[in-house]
Every structure is written in C-alpha cells, then in structure tokens.
Amino acid sequence: MKFLKTLGVAASAVAAVALSALPAQAEWPEGPITMLIGYKAGGGTDTKGRVLAKELGKELGVPVKVLNKPGGGQAASLNWFKEQKPDGKVFFFGASTGLTLNPFLKKDIGYSKDDFDYAALVTEFQPALVAPASAPFDDWKGFLAHAKANPGLKYAALSPFARIIMELISEKEGLTVDYIPTKGGAGMVQLVLGNQVDAAYSGGIHSRYPGKFKTLAVVTSKRQAHFADVPSLMELGYGLNGDAPTVVAFPKGIDRAIIDRLAAAMKVAAASKDMAKISKKIMMPVNFVGTEGAVKFIEESTAANKAMIEASGYEAK
C-alpha cells in the first residue's frame, strides 16, 4: 500500500512540475519549506537554525527542513541559492558577512548582496580578540605593551577577516605579528588552550570557556553583555567592527506578502522559549530586526566593509 502511495506521490510530483509554470500563489506556505544553511551541520549557525526551524514549523503549520550546503564561507550555498526560483520554497539563514563582506575579499565570488531580498535579522555573533588565561597581560593596553616589547607575536587567524583586523591594528601600532592559520572555532580553541599562540580572533566560542580566556577587545561596534567591561575596537579608536547578525533572505523577486509572512513567523519563533535557551547556551543573543531594518543594515554594513577593506589595501583573491 505504501508503495502505491509512493507511486501516487511520484505521479503527482510530475504533475506538479508541469503545473508549476502557472502562477499559483494562494496561501504561502502550501507545503514544506527549506531553510538553507551555508555551514556544516553541528556549528553555531546550524544549531540555532535547527531550533529556529522547529519553532518556525509550529508557527507556519508546515515542516521546515534544514539543508546544509557548506563551502567557501557560505559562497557555495549563496551561489546555489541565487539560482533558485523566488517561490518561497527555500530561504537562507546565515551570517551577514557572507553578503556584506566576503564579496570584497574574494574575486569572482559569483553573487552580490543585490541578488537577494531580505526579510529579517535574528541573532548576533559576539566576536572578540582573545588571549590565553596564562598570558602575561590582562587587557588591551597590556597586550599592546607586551606585543611591542616582543615582536613576532603569534596570532591565530581563523578567517581572512580575522587576519585583516590584526593587520590593520599592527600597521597602526607598529607591531610585528606572525599569523598562525587555523580551521574554525574549535581549531582556535585548541591553539589557545594549549598555549600555542599569544592571541587569537574568536567568533564568540570563547565565552563557553570561563577562566580559560582573557577577552582583550570586542569586535562588535557596541560592548557585549557578557563582557561589559571590555572595550570595543571602535571605542579604542581603530574604526573597525565585525558586526555580523544572522540574516534571513530570499532569492530576488520574491512576493512581498511571503516576506511579511515569514518575518512575522520568524519574530514569534525568535522569541520562543527554546530559542532563548539555546542562545544563552551558545551565547549568541537574539536581536530580532524586521524587514526594513534588515535591508538598511545590509546596505550600511556593505558600505562600511568596503571602506574598511579598501583602507587595508587587501587585494581580493
């Protein structure tokens, strides 16, 4: 019986393909929708995305599946996403840096922020510059003094952005830094906890290790709730920030009604109890911003990043 049913599904799917050319926009969503995530399953964005998908499913009354397409700092997923029909069957959930920063870092990245329509911002990353607990300094000033006295400081950089930030700082302060490449947050934690490096860029994972890290400066433009006494790089006068909320996007040309429906559901899902629990656990605060605010942020962030990369003299590869 099951098989007959499956065949029935097959037949109706063929019919659906044939019919999909016709405009049919009754009540979104009509069936299961897909949340696209540009990172591997198990990471911070993925974890939040999965909880959000579950809550969103309750709110929309249809299952929300998660699809992981890792690669190229979300470039693999965004290039695939760009080609999708703007019919509301799939939406993107990921770090805004993929849209507002990476196109300046990589030549021929294949997409730009203008290929998409934006629905909302949901949570914030909490990046910071950190040092091992055993470091002979406690704050930013101490770090600078130590770095000047000891040229050849080892700094773990998990992304090109992590490297650019330190390059700009060392240029301004006259430091000599050796960059140790590392893969992902886990790789960075290993190097710092093993006292292999003097300082590192953390995407926020360090807050899960109380007593093991010293937080020198936060990379968000405002101070972070968990580290209220740690200054931001903006405050310190470097004019640098890595503000990176998670953004919800559709392929360009989506029906405005779908954006509104998803943004409304997303707002409820973001405020759910499970979401609060998870964002406390992984310390990525929920900060829901609606459609207008999201569009505005994408524009501003793109302009700011463009200026920053130009100032750094970084050559896109």
């Binding site: 099951k2 098989f3 499956t6 065949l7 599904v9 097959a10 799917a13 063929v14 299961p32 299952p63 599946k65 590869k317």
Partner: protein
Amino acid sequence: MPKADLIAGVVLMVSGLALLFFIIPAQTEQDTGAAVPPDMLPQICALGITLLAAVLTLNALRGKTPDAKPPKASEWRAMVAVVVIILAGAALFQYIHPIVAGLFVTLATMLYMDERRWHLLLALPAALVVIVYLLFYEFLGTAIL
C-alpha cells in the same frame, strides 16, 4: 614485457607533466607571501608522481616488475555499464523524479546481471525505495530530498 605497467606508467607520466606545467599553475595561486605557497604541496605530489611513473615505465621496459592483469573485456563493459546507469539515474532524478531514479538504478543493475525472474525484478527495487522512504520519512521524520 609487462604491457599493463608500461601503459600505466606512460599515462601517469603524461598526467604528471600536465599537472606540473598546466593544471597546477592554472588552478592554484603561486606567490601569495604565505610561509608555504598554496601550490607547494600539489607541486611536490605532481613531481613525485611524474618521477615514480618514469621509474615504473623503465622497470616495465626492462621487464623487471610483476605485471598486473589489465581489465578483461567483460569488466570493461561492466565499468561502462555502471557509469551509464549512474548517469542515467542522475538524469531521471533531476528531470523526472527521485523515486523513478531509485527504481531505475536497481532495476537496470539487475537486468545487466541477467536477472530475469520478473517477480524479483519488481519486488527488489520497490522494496528498497519503500524501505528508504519508511526509514527517513516515517521513522526518522526527516526529509532527504
């Protein structure tokens, strides 16, 4: 003279040279100022493959190595058949439906292996598709397509 090794050695040597002089320069960045240039490890591998392939060819010419048995005609046919089945399955997957593709891959392999018992030809592909459907959609409650 071990003919199979000779063919393998020459093919690998040519591929190694192509890697060294064309593919690696085109597909990697060279001078980036990094401690280890991105193309260093690939170059080492390609150089090693080329030199070792040359050794393989020389040994084969001198008849020193135990020869490999090259594929038989039936194995060639099977290799091509399996690739064709996979590619046809991929086409069915994208243009018709995943379930059709799943049924096709199993059925075509059975037919190629001279399975002619019609009840098995019907039962096995259907059973596999149903089991996969039940496992993922009913039991695990997840979507895989």
